[in-house]
Symmetry: C2
Subunit: 398 residues, 2 copies
């Protein structure tokens, strides 16, 4: 079998419309409508961003919105709870967002303070709200996501930290594979029980390949998952603090073994250059807290690299972050004003700075798609890096 073609292609849930080198533009069908790939998802962990809400994501600026977001199903299952989600009719209605909603399974919380232990069956947590014990199994992860009613559910994976042995990485990979099959099985049951079989009306399920930073394991994991009927494939366990080089290698060791005709999703990646590089490798979906976390620390994206709005040099700069930027913040406020909000510690500043960084990424990807459609992606990527990376270095020396 050709590893690059998934077994099930009948439903046409993902169609590649343009290519430029390995970079591609496609259309992903979900029950909330179609979305053009590549796209970046702001993280709305608990059905909200930090300081920024879905009303902002629907209007980041002139003709710019985030068309997809990702929530955390484990945390949402604890508060407000899946019973409430069922009553309200799902996450879209609850947080008033009609775009595409992904849910993460909660496996990522294995790196959080409320993780207890892992067994072959799942992950043990203590609720951060009431310390109640939760055993997150593939079955529970699927039930949570089904009841939250997201458009795309993620299988339960066993994510590991950087700097573990190959043996430890293999055990985690094997957990991941077993949990992946169990997730798929459970998802199938839910689809059948609820009579939701068609692409237009059912939740999609994405696999997550692991393998830590061991090339052979990455290959093995991508190959194994590709054999099964997932609607898309994530590369998990990267951008968790490892040197950038290892992150790129892990992705390079995975992509060739994932199906060409299914969406590819590198989880947790949010820096402008990383996103564009990954698009160049054929990645279609992204999510990260990076733009908002940076914004809260006054680290702001511009076409000439990041600037730090808490620096005195901006105290009397009465121009917007970027004159050509169409974001709500740049349309309304100057760097001097944002500097002032930062210096007086006003939380509203976090919102305004987050809006800019999110807009920047959405616009960047819009331009990347344009370049792919014109088959000029490599040129676009190089031009961007020349401005962003080189100018950034100059900035740092100022």
């Amino acid at each position: 079998m050709n590893q690059n073609i998934s077994k099930k292609t009948t439903e046409n849930q993902f169609q590649i419309t343009h290519k430029s080198g390995k970079a591609r533009v496609g259309i992903l069908k979900t029950k909330s409508g179609t979305i053009e790939t590549p796209f970046f998802m702001p993280v709305v962990t608990k059905a909200t961003g930090k300081h920024i809400t879905t009303d902002d994501y629907k209007k980041l600026g002139t003709k710019c919105e985030a068309k997809a977001v990702i929530c955390n199903s484990l945390l949402l299952s604890l508060r407000p709870g899946t019973e409430l989600m069922k009553k309200v009719g799902g996450i879209h209605k609850f947080m008033n967002f009609s775009g595409v909603v992904f849910t993460d399974c909660g496996g990522f919380q294995a790196s959080s303070s409320f993780f207890e232990l892992k067994t072959k069956n799942g992950i043990h947590f203590r609720s951060p709200y009431d310390n109640k014990k939760i055993i997150l199994t593939p079955k529970l992860a699927m039930k949570n996501q089904w009841e939250i009613n997201s458009d795309v559910a993620m299988m339960l994976d066993d994510m590991t930290p950087y700097n573990i042995t190959e043996e430890e990485a293999r055990i985690a990979m094997e957990n991941t594979h077993r949990w992946g099959l169990q997730s798929l099985e459970e998802h199938k049951k839910l689809r059948e029980a609820n009579n939701k079989q068609k692409i237009e009306e059912r939740q999609l399920i994405f696999g997550i390949s692991q393998g830590n930073f061991y090339p052979k394991l990455r290959e093995e994991s991508a190959k194994f998952l590709s054999e099964h009927e997932f609607d898309g494939f994530a590369i998990g366990g990267v951008a968790i603090g490892e040197p950038s080089k290892y992150m790129y290698e892990a992705v390079d060791n995975s992509i060739p073994f994932l199906p060409e005709n299914k969406p590819r999703y590198v989880m947790g990646l949010g820096s402008p250059v990383d996103i564009l590089e990954m698009i160049g490798k054929g990645v279609d979906c992204f999510d990260s807290i990076y733009p908002t976390q940076n914004a809260r620390h006054s680290s702001i994206f511009t076409s000439k690299g990041k600037i730090y709005l808490d620096k005195g040099r901006y105290a009397e700069d009465f121009t917007p972050i970027e004159k050509t930027c169409g974001c709500h913040t740049c349309q309304n406020y100057t760097k001097a004003y944002l500097y002032h909000l930062t210096k007086i510690g006003e939380p509203a500043g976090h919102r305004l700075k987050s809006i800019h960084n999110q807009y920047f990424l959405q616009e960047l990807i819009r331009k990347a798609k344009e370049a792919i459609k014109k088959d000029k992606y490599e040129e676009f990527l190089n031009d961007f890096k020349k401005e962003f990376v080189i100018k950034k270095k100059l900035n740092l020396n100022q």
Copy 2:
């Protein structure tokens, strides 16, 4: 001389257009344009609200904005500083607000933790930013406000707490009167030096009557200030923690001695019923942190009284705060969602709840003006209180 007619009426800077009992609608001319009275000013102390910024105030909901706000000139003079204000061209440009901007003198900060002492010449503070000594004199208060370039400056007053002796209240009143005359004198000098004499282009200056809760002092203070060429008159030193009865008495003992043909401003008042009662007494301007402070504590205004959005009864209430409310928050989110944001401690919730409370007050005053124009103010006030006060009591027993 008739105490109810100010000496200077030539400039026609304030015109009463409608009356209903003592309640009135008028037009106040400022250098940023005209504004219809009565109006309520959100407090943007340091050129921003807490969690809510001027972009929100410009669009609180369908066809609703705050047309005036008030800043604190003492705090702004410390950060970002008046030199910066001069460079940017004033507070309106700095915070991107083209409506009417009042500035308070800073006298109110005499009740803050950075107050040191009062002398006959002014108030001694320590900067909350760097502990530097500041002596706030009438001259400095006027300079600060002139350089901030607000539309309406407030004279420096000596505000006193509730529960002082008549002798102490008299000393503070005498300080207030002396500082008032000095403020006026200084303001005149600034107008002349800058060749800004016409109403359309110059900053206005309002007097602040004091007198604590002693009826005779209130009368004396209102009469004294009315003799001088202020553009409007505030009643200061109320709503500072005293029983409501005393607050109403202090206002009742002041208003008859303030000119009929000048705007009247009760400082620091923000509860819906108090505002409407005061409008009924002929008050034209209001400001308070009350709506936003309440919002941050999940205490939300509705036509049937305040509700508390942190109560479990709202956990599954999938309706907006009020179905008929046109505010941005009610147009987008349900009580269940706002309850969720409150329970997870998400600061973005403060913004959404603040938007609702501010919209509620702006809309309430819009309706009050309509009632005055139809000469049905008393009926309107009684109808509102019946719903708001009585239903509120029922709510509390639930």
